[in-house]
Amino acid sequence: MTSLAITVVGHDRPGIIAQAAEVLSQCGMNLEDSSMTLLRGHFAMTLICAGEADAEQVDAALQPLVNGSLDVTVREVPEEPDLPPLGSTYLVTVHGADRLGIVARLASVIAQAGGNITDLTTRLSGALYVLLAEVDLPRSADVAALQARLAEVSAELGVDTSMRLIENDEL
């Protein structure tokens, strides 16, 4: 059994997902976790699949998809443990005027506090930049100190930042 990490990025057109999924199915590769979206109009697919084919076979099978407008990468990856977070998960929300370095500065503050960003999206909408990050914090983390540091750096960047615990409703 091999696990493959595949990326497909490029000009969007109808049928990319159908074609890629069909190729993987034909290769006997089970599509596991994936993200398929449009980023500023560019099609962007990232996925992990598992099965008996190797990276070379799958890469060759995906070549018809490229069609001059898509970049495809395939590489083998080791199994990773998919563990739930040990501490708490927070959502960091940032919005403000777009400028260079917002993600770099704020992600650095989070990393210094021991926070692990598990999911992050950004969106530029006109002059407005929006960043949403889900952050796992270890139990030992000083949440108040992180919030204070985020507020400080946000003020320097001229953006609004909030950090709230993500509630999970157990049903």
């Binding site: 959502l91 407005l128 609004d160």
Partner: protein, 187 residues
């Protein structure tokens, strides 16, 4: 059930401020409900809300005034259960809240994005009526509760973006109501 709202003067239609604008990020100050400028601001907010397709609420920071003043009218919206008709309130706050539900919100000040926001669906809001300054309690639910909280957030310098539920909870707007440059709050 309508609010005994005093008759307001004729309102002027004002330009709506868009994010990122500083006035949307600062907490508005409490103001005197009897101040003629505050009464006129209420009338202007109502006039601006009325001409904006789909708009069900507007707060003072959205017209560039940092103050705790807003208007709401959800009476024509299909998601409405309880409605108090046209509401204009000064220095309002949520005093009771329960039953959280998630729904997608939009905002005239963030015209190209929408977001999933979890908010209480049964609330009581306390605030002052313009002109008379009478303190009123509004107990409501569903869409009117959401609209009131969205506007009270504006008065506190917060946008729906500050309350979305996850990293994938903000979306590009796909449906505009007639005029993309002047949509409405909380559609």
């Amino acid at each position: 059930m309508s609010l005994a709202l005093p008759t307001l003067p004729d309102g002027r239609v004002l330009d709506v401020v868009r994010a990122p604008s500083q006035v949307l990020s600062v907490s508005g100050l409490p103001v005197d409900p009897a101040d003629p400028a505050v009464v006129q601001l209420c009338a202007d907010l109502v006039a601006t809300m009325r001409i904006s397709p789909g708009c069900v609420g507007l707060a003072a920071p959205q017209v560039g005034v940092s103050a705790q003043v807003f208007c709401v009218d959800v009476s024509a919206h299909p998601k409405t259960r309880t409605t108090h008709g046209l509401i204009a309130l000064v220095n309002a706050e949520v005093v009771e809240a329960s039953r959280n539900e998630k729904a997608r919100e939009g905002c005239m000040s963030v015209p190209d994005l929408t977001g999933d926001v979890k908010r209480p669906t049964k609330i009581t809001v306390a605030g002052l009526l313009p002109l008379s300054g009478e303190r009123v309690l509004i107990t409501t639910d569903a869409f009117e509760a959401r609209a009131l909280q969205h506007e009270i957030d504006h008065c506190a310098g917060m946008l729906f973006l500050d309350r979305v539920v996850g990293a994938h909870a903000v979306f590009p707007r796909k449906v505009y109501l007639k005029l993309p440059e002047s949509g409405g709050d909380v559609r």
